[in-house]
Amino acid sequence: MTMPHHGDSSSLSAEELAAMSPEQQMIAGAEADGVRIVHRRNRFPIPGTKAEKRAERGVSMFFLLAALAGVGFIVAFIVVPYHWQLPGESQNFRFYTPVLGGLLGLMLVLMGFGAVLWAKWLMPEEEAEQDRHDEPSTDEDKAFIQSTLAVGLQDAGVPRRSMLLRSLGLAGGALLTVPLVALVGAMIKKPGKQLDHTPYGILLPNYPNGVPIIYSTGIRVSADDLEPGGLATVFPVGYVSDASAPTLLIRLRPGQVVKARKGQAGFQFGDYVAFSKICTHAGCPASLYEQQTSRLLCPCHQSQFEVLEDAKPVFGPATRSLPKLPLGVEVVDGVQYFVAKSDFHEPIGPGFWERS
């Protein structure tokens, strides 16, 4: 028998139930659920004694202290200095986080203490036992459950009404497909034309001599700026914070010769080469340049590009060479300043399968 206790509870008549105090009813209810309260004693049988008052004050003291810690947290949040100071000045800011954490922790701990002591000091002592049910269910119970399910299916007409079932299947399929359309649809969105050009391409019509190349400070890059083995991150004029603009300008060491790809032989200027800084794998800045071994590394997934082979990937997950910028110079007041003769000839950044 699985549900004897519920059956037993109905053995109390309405009159018997009405005659019971709430506490007796609670005990009877627990018993009906298989929980027997074997010992129950009120700690303070006479209400309002001095001892009870003292215990109550003790518990509320913890809650009051918790509230004070909470107020302290708010005060500390506003008052304690949190600004970093230059070395040599007093570094009071470093107490900010520990003070906040300490007060918040104190508040929670005091509330916990209060709750525990409330139960220990004020609530009645109680010991209860509960029957342990043997495993597994009886054969009778198993048979009951099986036939309940079988009859339920019969009532719904599942074996007979196949049209209903199939249409329900279709509705369920639609229910699953709707969120899938949103999820998968977002992933196969075509990038359109936005990856076909970088700021170099946008600016090109405005600059017949080529797009001026600048440092992050806005100063134009001249052809005698870098030493051999030098590296600079440069940008098209006005686009220092554009995500697709960063370009690596490298001045090769004597003896280093770049093997240009087909159709890109004229992209180099003297011993200067320029590549997109955006890794073709996942779009990180691939700017760890080893000037002696002429390797460019991407710190995210350890892709390596051989600069002397036109930034061809030689290690790691990247599969595409870094796009090369066609470098040229424009002479202003006798100084050769670098310009981009055109945009990159291929999309920069991580590969995508709809590449045009």
């Binding site: 070395p87 570094q91 005698d224 760890l288």
Partner: protein
Amino acid sequence: MVLVAGLAAMGGLYGLFASSSGADSSTADSANIATGQQLFDVSCITCHGANLQGVTDRGPSLLGVGASATYFQLSTGRMPATAQGAEEYRKTSQFTEAQTDDIAAFVQSIGGGPTVPTGSLRTDSSQVAAGGELFRLNCASCHGLSMRGAPLSAGKTAPSLGAATDKQIYTAMQSGPENMPVFSDNELTPDQKKSIVTYIQTMKASKDPGGNGLDRIGPVSEALVIWILGIGAMVATILWIGAKS
């Protein structure tokens, strides 16, 4: 030391160079260069050659590297090298500051090149933020935002900046040791280089909020203490309360 003395005696050879290069130097400088050459002839000549021309399969030519590169390599202890390899590591310098300067003066006198900067290499604190911008753009990719260094290809590493002095950071940018790119004065002006030095040293000198810093990655250390000590104390207290009642 016997070897040093013996080889120092051979330094009579330096007269040849002193006479050719000392013409445009003051007497104090030529004395330094002479001492530098003596030290060079003892410690460097085997791999770099008597005329700094380099020795095949041993060491590169030092013509044109200048005092700057010499100062960096010697003061960080990378040179004299313990063994041939793609990378030398920082170790205790074999030379005093004065000896390092002398050797640098000698190398400078033969081949020329970038010189070691003099005076303070710091800017005032208003340039720290600008230095930080330049650091993140030019240095952080290899040396890391936390300046603890990072791996490069084939087992090579970009070193930590933890022990680097102002002068070492500056001369490293100037000379581009090993695989580090060279940052010329046109690309990063001396003032910009100084602002980078100031930023690095300021960050290194500043304290982490609370507890021990773990590359400033967050309050991990504090949380560890809270877990072990704090929760331990709480469990003990709960047991104590349970035992008392």
